[in-house]
Symmetry: C2
Subunit: 430 residues, 2 copies
């Protein structure tokens, strides 16, 4: 008898009826002969409601207390799911992150899972119970304080439980049918991927695809746990995230054990802003000073571009993108360095979008960049910045051009389905 780990996000747990429906899915898996362990998020928008309450009480609440507050959300949903299961004639035991043995570092608000010690979960399974675990939370190894993993952290909780319990599969239930070749709200003919490698899924998630939390994919790849992303509103098979582009059979094509389509999908992201530092003296250590200051301010950068300097002035421009929520902090930090570094000006633009083409096949197929840029040109989209990885090409474009860029690239790489496949059921599944 195998162990199945399931995860249900807030949009699948929006009210009592939704919770009862989830309980039926869980008991179906139990009836099918599996031991079932479930990670749940907070109900619907309840995390936002708690954040709103906190903002009413204090403009800058202490991170420890914010974690204490937010973890109440999963506590409520896990208890209700356990009750609904019990009402179906099965027994369930709910556990907080701490009780479930989810051990983290001590960074409140974005803790990382260090270890999972699932002693109480194993005991409950052995006693025949279905186990419900609060997602998104853990307990610090050092301080014994309650921590949270950051937005979307329940995906990571589920994968970490699956790894610790050596589960057969980690099923992520959400409000879409799986991972698509593009956002179906922009490209109605986007196709559902039956299978995608960890690396491609990582690039998709990092490039704006919201279906899976980035860190959960990293965790699954490291522990080789297959993730099955599927809808909690239908019984369709979803998308399985498994296998590496570095597996020997990967490049064998249709006859190998894994197909290698050239392009997995087109992702987009409207959450970034661009900062340009104008007129930086082109000498050793200037760039380091800028980026060390931003790192000290805990700002994660995405794309970085430095042009060659104009010979006449020996000055250069440095541009980078970052989450627009960090924009104000970054600008303030850099303005404080103006005299020290001696740059001329700072420019800020948050009306940008990033469009990314992702596919392991681009390693062995030359000309992908050229085809991508041609498609953008034909769609009338101007390219602001370019960045590439082994299996991804990203461009920064005007925010108003994002939809046309995604549609153009999707068509150019023959990703369009013959008919509309996707149904989006609710909000964003976490």
């Amino acid at each position: 008898m195998g162990i199945v780990v399931q995860k249900y996000g807030g949009s699948s747990l929006s009210d009592a009826d939704a919770i009862k429906r989830v309980a039926r899915r869980i008991t179906d898996a139990k009836k099918a002969g599996n031991d079932v362990v479930v990670a749940v998020s907070a109900m619907g928008d309840s995390t936002d409601e708690l954040l709103d309450l906190a903002a009413q009480v204090s403009p800058l609440p202490p991170a420890r207390e914010l974690d204490m507050l937010l973890t109440a959300g999963e506590r409520i949903s896990m208890a209700l799911v356990a009750m609904a299961i019990s009402d179906l004639g099965f027994t369930a035991r709910s556990f907080t992150g701490s009780q479930a043995g989810v051990i983290t570092d001590d960074v409140h608000g974005k803790a990382k899972i260090l270890d999972v010690t699932p002693g109480r979960i194993r005991s409950a399974i052995e006693e025949g119970h279905i186990v419900i675990v609060a997602g998104f939370q853990g307990v610090s190894q050092q301080t014994k304080e309650i921590t949270t993993l950051g937005r979307g952290g329940t995906d990571t909780t589920a994968v970490a439980l699956a790894a610790a319990l050596e589960a057969d599969v980690c099923e992520i239930y959400t409000d879409v049918d799986g991972v698509f070749t593009a956002d179906p709200r922009i490209v109605p003919t986007a196709r559902k991927l039956d299978r995608v490698t960890y690396e491609e899924m990582l690039e998709l998630a990092a490039s704006g695809a919201k279906v899976l939390h980035l860190r959960s994919v990293e965790y699954a790849r490291r522990h080789n746990i297959p993730i099955h992303v599927r809808s909690s509103f239908s019984t369709l098979e979803g998308t399985t995230v498994t296998g590496s582009i570095n597996d020997p059979e990967f490049d064998e094509g249709p006859e190998g054990s894994m197909e290698a389509p050239i392009i997995a999908g087109v992702a987009h992201d409207r959450s970034e802003a661009k900062i340009t530092v104008v007129g930086v003296p082109d000498k050793v250590g200037e760039a380091a000073a800028i980026f060390n200051a931003l790192a000290d301010a805990q700002i994660n950068l995405d794309m970085i571009v430095q042009n060659v300097s104009a010979a006449a002035t020996n000055l250069t421009d440095i541009s980078f993108t970052l989450p627009h929520t960090d924009g104000q902090t970054a600008m303030t930090t850099l303005a404080g360095l103006r005299d020290q570094i001696g740059f001329e000006n700072l420019l800020y633009d948050d009306k940008i979008g990033k469009v990314s083409l992702i596919g392991a096949g681009m390693r062995s197929h030359p000309g992908i960049s050229a085809k991508f840029f041609t498609a953008l040109a034909e769609a009338g989209v101007n390219i602001g910045m370019i960045s590439t990885s082994e299996i991804r090409i990203s461009v920064i474009v005007d925010q108003d051009d994002v939809d046309r860029a995604v549609q153009g690239a999707h068509t150019a790489f023959d990703l369009d389905a013959d008919e509309v496949e996707a149904v989006v059921y609710g909000g964003t599944g976490r």
Copy 2:
């Protein structure tokens, strides 16, 4: 520097503004030079809202999961109170019942506190923090499961913390100005008691006065912790519960260290029902059979009356009162015993009320009963059942007669104040 323990109920924590006001009261106590430990209930009606959610999911939710659910309420309020304190420039640390070392037995829904091991609280105090503790909850010594203490349990949490920390005083903040000689909604001229003994307060609480949870008073008496009941909406001195009717100085009257008024107050309770078992054979073991069956069904009885049997039939009637919420269970239990015991009939009446006169002085003043019954007769109130303790006389009357009975007794024993003293600010403080 002494330790002050404070307790704030849900009606004092109804929204963000109320929480900020409570935070100011707490920091005032800290500014005055005290170490401050605070027990909080869930915000406003949030416990009822969680119970409502549970009812929507399952008609009979497992007690373990119900406790898991309900403890989310105090988790939310304690984190918000800690944030509001931090916003005032002080530091606070919130702790769940489990983190605070509140060790209980394993009876979900009405656990009893066995011990308090406040190691983390003491460390936080030593580091200069104000400590906020989730009321109403603990962790089972045996099973390590989360438990709740039952409605009103936060009073008990506060007193237990005060005892474990050897606090100078336990302040119970509520939505009335203190303990009154009667419910001010029925008797507008009720007077606030400056001081009342543990025993009188126990009888008042057991007789329907809702201002303090019965078990908190028992706990305070056992550990000799003074309780100061006062309003969170004003700065008036409230009522101090302290001292025993068995203290040697108690009966010394005005010249002794403690005054001994004859009557502390008139309490009433409309939450009981009366069951009469008609025609019980008057032989050994019949009453035992009835009351053992009710005990097995976990029903707590209050008053019990058995009349002498009529000589002709050798049959007797047995009447008792119980919480009306247990009425259905009790009737079903007894109906199942009909053949075994051979009684004739069962009568059920939930249109009753209990009116109780409480005062340590009645031990040394004869004629109190006569004066009480005369006052009821003059108010036109018929007495259904009578029960007495050393410092209490209770009668069961028609529910419609309760107000007149309370008013008549209050006046007869000279308890009326010259002017209206009481202000009721909100709902019931827990």
